[in-house]
């Protein structure tokens, strides 16, 4: 195992992970808005979209985008296709987190906003988001952790991330048991600190709302 290649593939795993988190975060806002929309048609469309996005295995999404659609970067870079695929899937989950977070804010708070005639932006930044934040962070972190594990699937369409590296090393004659177990530990090393970080952020934001 050459350290340089291991580090590079780890870097690619991180790029896919963070890229898809960012993509999902942006896309999750319209998803959450759609689920809270007043119009039943808009709500219906969002529900169908979420069901489709979640109903397909991540690998099928990746093959669909990389080999099927294959326009521009989607067809050239398996890493880009993986980011878009995982981003799409996770936008449904993140959207769910935001939706749940907003719903967790007591109705009295929404009524108070109306009674005070707070401008929408101020209402969200000062009242709603500080209260919804811990719940949004808690559940979207859980989803982000399983997203790390999903980046491994990108190796099947040829993104040269960690799993791809492991697979190649083993194909070249390395001990499969050792290599894959070691790679598993790398995944654990990625997910465990994220969980701890999330608990820390959650704890802090609870304190700040109480104050």
């Amino acid at each position: 195992m050459e350290l340089q290649y291991l580090l590079r593939s780890l870097g690619h795993t991180l790029i896919i992970w963070i890229g898809s988190i960012l993509f999902a975060a942006v896309l999750s806002i319209p998803v959450a808005a759609g689920r809270r929309a007043g119009s039943p048609i808009l709500r219906g469309i969002t529900r169908v979209w979420v069901a489709i996005v979640r109903g397909l295995p991540p690998l099928v999404w990746m093959i669909l985008l990389f080999f099927g659609v294959g326009i521009g970067l989607l067809g050239q870079s398996p890493m880009f296709a993986a980011i878009v695929a995982l981003g799409l899937i996770n936008s449904a989950y993140f959207g769910d987190s935001i939706y749940a977070g907003l719903n967790s804010v007591p109705t009295a708070q929404w009524d108070a906003i109306k009674a005070l005639a707070l401008p929408t932006r101020q209402a969200y930044t000062k009242v709603i988001i500080p209260q919804a934040f811990p719940i949004i962070i808690a559940s979207s972190t859980a989803y982000s952790i399983s997203l790390v594990k999903n980046t491994a699937i990108a190796s099947i369409i040829g993104a040269n991330e960690l799993m791809f590296y492991g697979h190649n090393t083993v194909q070249a004659g390395a001990n499969g048991l050792q290599v894959f177990f070691l790679i598993g530990l790398v995944y654990l090393a990625l997910t465990i600190p994220v969980g701890m970080l999330a608990r820390w952020v959650e704890g802090r934001s609870v304190i700040s709302t109480v104050r």
């Binding site: 690998l59 669909l64 080999f67 697979h167 499969g176």
Partner: protein, 236 residues
């Protein structure tokens, strides 16, 4: 267009059958292992509990694809050579066991103490208590999240394409690659996945409503099932 779709569905049905076979056999093994794991996670002695926690964390923390590679490429190192189909079943069963162990543990923990005290007060023997009090409660609250796991397991069977199992994705991929019809072929496979997943989710929602009645309406949160067991979004 419609004839193409029907043709493709007929062509892919054997692949879907393999996916379902993988799901059923790995879930059956995984649920049994997970149940014993869940019981052992609550063992009194830490010498039993801690190793089991370690194993469960590894099974849950490793990507399902990695587990598949460990079984398929790793086990031959210690002279255990399994066919690709058997490897897939074993690997997925292990991952499922890790996730369901946690669900069973939470479900057993959610049995109200009052019910256990009542059973004791009535002089029920431990075995009878397990059969009449604990088990009905556990099955009631654990079934919705377990179906959630099976949905993910079904989607996860697509990973078996990487070790050459021709399940649904594999069939669609091969035909699409040879005939340059990848987009339409994989779209048909996607529709089939969607139908089966939606069916399972529909059963899950129904079971959850029932479970909430059993647990006395303690269903919490949007993704938490009865007893507040959170369905992990993915094994993987």
């Amino acid at each position: 267009m419609i004839t193409y779709f029907l043709d493709a569905v007929l062509r892919q049905l054997p692949g879907l059958a393999v996916s379902v076979e993988l799901t059923v056999s790995s879930s059956a093994i995984g649920l049994v292992l997970g149940f014993f794991g869940g019981v052992l996670l609550r063992h009194r002695s830490r010498w039993v509990r801690y190793p089991i926690i370690g194993v469960v964390e590894i099974l849950r923390g490793f990507p399902a694809l990695l587990m598949l590679y460990i079984v398929y490429y790793g086990l031959p190192q210690i002279d255990i050579v399994l066919s690709s189909m058997v490897s897939a079943i074993v690997a997925f069963a292990l991952t499922i066991a890790g996730f369901t162990a946690e669900i069973f543990r939470a479900a057993i923990a959610s049995v109200p103490t009052g019910q256990l005290e009542a059973a004791k007060a009535l002089g029920l023997k431990p075995f009878v208590t397990t059969r009449l009090v604990v088990l009905p409660h556990v099955l009631g609250v654990a079934i919705p999240p377990l179906i959630g796991i099976i949905v993910i397991a079904f989607q996860g069977t697509s990973l078996a394409i990487s070790i050459g199992v021709t399940e649904l994705t594999g069939v669609a991929f091969q035909y699409g690659q040879v005939n340059f019809t990848m987009l339409s072929e994989i779209t048909v496979a996607a529709v089939l996945y969607l139908i089966v997943t939606s069916l399972l989710i529909w059963i899950e929602v129904w079971a959850e409503r029932r479970a909430n009645r059993i647990a006395g309406g303690t269903g919490t949160g949007p993704r938490g099932g009865a007893a507040g067991i959170i369905i992990p979004p993915a094994i993987r």
